[in-house]
């Protein structure tokens, strides 16, 4: 299956960067799946709460189907304003724009988090030096910036689902580096830690299944 990483989804990156996950997913949903709950390959749905309550259909490989409570199971916990469900029989429509849109959203979120981590450390000090200026901190920042650059380059260069996999991995690494940069603040359930978790769960729910390689 090839999922196009179309450039016309770039604006989701900008909205995620400026306003966070819920705002970017709301826009993505309005433009690609209005009225329908988008599902991942395991039948998982992970969307802002207001979208979950407003949709009367869910996505399946054969097109949208009307919701039926008996097929749904809420998956507990809200992260960054998003809720999760599992719907039996739900799944992505071939060639749908949602999975690649989600990857763009995650790119913008990673950039947002790294920007926040940078700001946070600019205002902390270690023996009168801004923490941001410590060489080991700069090294982590560079690793995170490299991960973002790799994801952005993949978007620009290579359509298709292998690229989408690598984009998600690279953004996962950036998220973990941001958590290290934030210190214990990122371990709290709300704030940047909750945002990293939401971003990871988006990848967990919506990354297309990787085609099995022969002999591997």
């Amino acid at each position: 299956m090839s999922t196009a990483l179309s450039v016309d989804q770039q604006h989701y990156r900008a909205v995620a960067f400026a306003h966070g996950a819920a705002a970017a997913l709301t826009l993505l949903h309005a433009e690609t799946s209005a009225g329908v709950l988008p599902a991942g390959p395991g039948g998982h749905v992970f969307v802002p709460e207001h979208i979950e309550s407003a949709c009367d259909r869910y996505e399946t490989p054969d097109g949208p189907r009307a919701r039926d409570g008996a097929r749904e199971e809420p998956l507990g916990g809200v992260s960054a304003g998003l809720v999760a469900l599992r719907i039996r029989g739900a799944g992505p429509t071939h060639g749908g724009a949602w999975p690649s849109g989600v990857a763009w959203v995650r790119l913008g979120l990673a950039e947002r988090l790294l920007g926040q981590a940078t700001e946070h450390l600019r205002h902390r000090t270690v023996q009168q030096t801004a923490t941001l200026n410590l060489p080991l901190v700069r090294a982590m920042l560079a690793d995170a910036a490299g991960g973002i650059a790799e994801a952005a380059a993949l978007f620009a260069a290579a359509p298709g689902s292998p690229a989408l996999h690598r984009i998600h991995r690279s953004l996962d690494e950036v998220g973990r580096l941001c958590l290290h940069l934030f210190g214990a603040v990122g371990f709290l359930a709300t704030g940047p830690g909750g945002d990293v978790r939401a971003s990871e769960l988006l990848a967990d729910a919506y990354t297309p299944e990787r085609p099995e390689r022969e002999g591997s």
Binding site: G42, R86, T131, R176, F187
Partner: protein, 378 residues
């Protein structure tokens, strides 16, 4: 006869089963800790001195007080394979106990251990502040005119503890930081729980102190020379507790590894290679943690190996738990709640007792000072 540590490990592994049953419930509702853990394990305390702990479990005819680092890393890793959060939520001396053991006078020891021996009691170690974590010298909490003022943040068990140690500045400079022994029911003292992503059983807390009355008798080590008080004891505590944090990370890593092996029987060749690599690293990290624990027992003034163990065990825990969910299909974080929990828990160890960067600085300095031992030129 079986080696003592092997038998101790086997005993701990068996004891850990009770923690497995409650791990997800406590993760959902950390307040269950009080009811669920009470009396569930053979150890009522971790790190109580013999004179206050008349009935510890016995292995190979030896009482096991869990008062040495080697015993702790052996037992606590096994318990952490079931639930690292629950291990950290066990009542008892934990970190503050190290400080008391190092520098308290006889009356302070009696006050502290006496209270703990009465009934299961949580304690805390309050160093980190909202504005200063890796840089404790910058702390703003202070004792002036017999009053303690300040805020400590990210303090384990803080909101449920009855007594603990607060680090506070009395005067300028590195020797100006005191370790203050405080009961949490003093006027002006409040402990507020914080909601965390992982290790939720630990009840990470904020401690707010406003004009809390303190006396000279509360200053740990006040009878000792100025160079052997607050920060001196804190550094030795970190050196002894880092191997423990490393063993907890190792326990979480091993749990996630075992889960993959037990639940994912059909694996691609590439996946099997990944697991083989992790198995070797677990083995290596365990050897390093034990070496660090031995070193901490021999000389708590040297934290070189403790830093090495913490860096490597923490990285391994993060990597294995991250990789483990990828062995399963889409939505694995929801479909395998234990893996999700371990992944969240594993991320705590980076911060406890100093981040990996701080450990790198220690380790590099220790190496340069010749503390790792070198091959001798022939």
């Amino acid at each position: 006869m079986m080696d003592f540590l092997d038998e101790l490990r086997a005993f701990a592994r068996e004891s850990a089963d009770v923690l497995r049953r409650t791990t997800l419930d406590i993760d959902r509702d950390p307040s269950l800790v009080d009811g669920v853990l009470g009396g569930a394990l053979p150890w009522r305390h971790v790190g109580m001195p013999a004179e206050y702990y008349p009935d510890p479990p016995v292995v190979q005819g030896r009482p096991v007080y869990l008062d040495s680092c080697v015993e702790q890393v052996t037992v606590l890793e096994e318990l952490a394979r079931a639930d690292a959060g629950a291990v950290l939520a066990l009542p008892g001396p934990a970190m503050s106990g190290f400080v008391v053991a190092e520098i308290a006078d006889q009356r302070q020891r009696e006050r502290y251990y006496g209270m703990l021996a009465e009934r299961p009691t949580w304690t805390f170690f309050g160093m980190t502040e909202p504005s200063h974590g890796s840089d404790p010298a910058g702390m703003a909490t202070n004792v002036t005119g017999g009053l303690l003022n300040g805020v400590k943040r990210f303090v384990g068990n803080g909101a449920r503890a009855r007594i603990g140690v607060v680090f506070a500045r009395r005067s300028a400079g590195p020797l100006g930081i005191a370790a203050v022994l405080v009961e949490t029911d003093r006027p002006g003292f409040a402990g507020v729980p914080l909601e965390t992503l992982g290790l939720r059983a630990l009840a990470l807390s904020e401690l707010r102190m406003r004009d809390v009355p303190v006396e000279v008798g509360d200053l740990l080590g006040h009878h000792r020379s100025a160079t052997r008080q607050g920060m001196w004891a804190a550094v030795r505590t970190f050196n002894r507790y880092r191997p423990v944090v490393a063993c907890l990370a190792l326990g979480v890593a091993q749990a996630a590894f075992d889960y993959v092996v037990d639940n994912r029987r059909l694996m691609r060749v590439a996946q099997r290679h990944v697991l083989d690599g992790f198995a070797e690293r677990l083995h290596g990290a365990r050897a390093l943690v034990l070496a660090a624990a031995r070193s901490a027992d021999d000389d708590p003034g040297d934290g070189t190996l403790a830093s090495a163990a913490k860096i490597r065990a923490t990285a391994l825990a993060e990597e294995i738990t991250t990789a483990a969910v990828r062995f399963f299909g889409p939505g694995a974080r929801w479909e395998h709640p234990l893996l999700d929990k371990w992944l969240r828990d594993a991320r705590a160890f980076e911060f406890m007792e100093g981040t990996s960067n701080i450990q790198r600085l220690n380790l590099a300095q220790g190496y340069l000072n010749g503390r790792l031992g070198h091959a001798q030129a022939a």
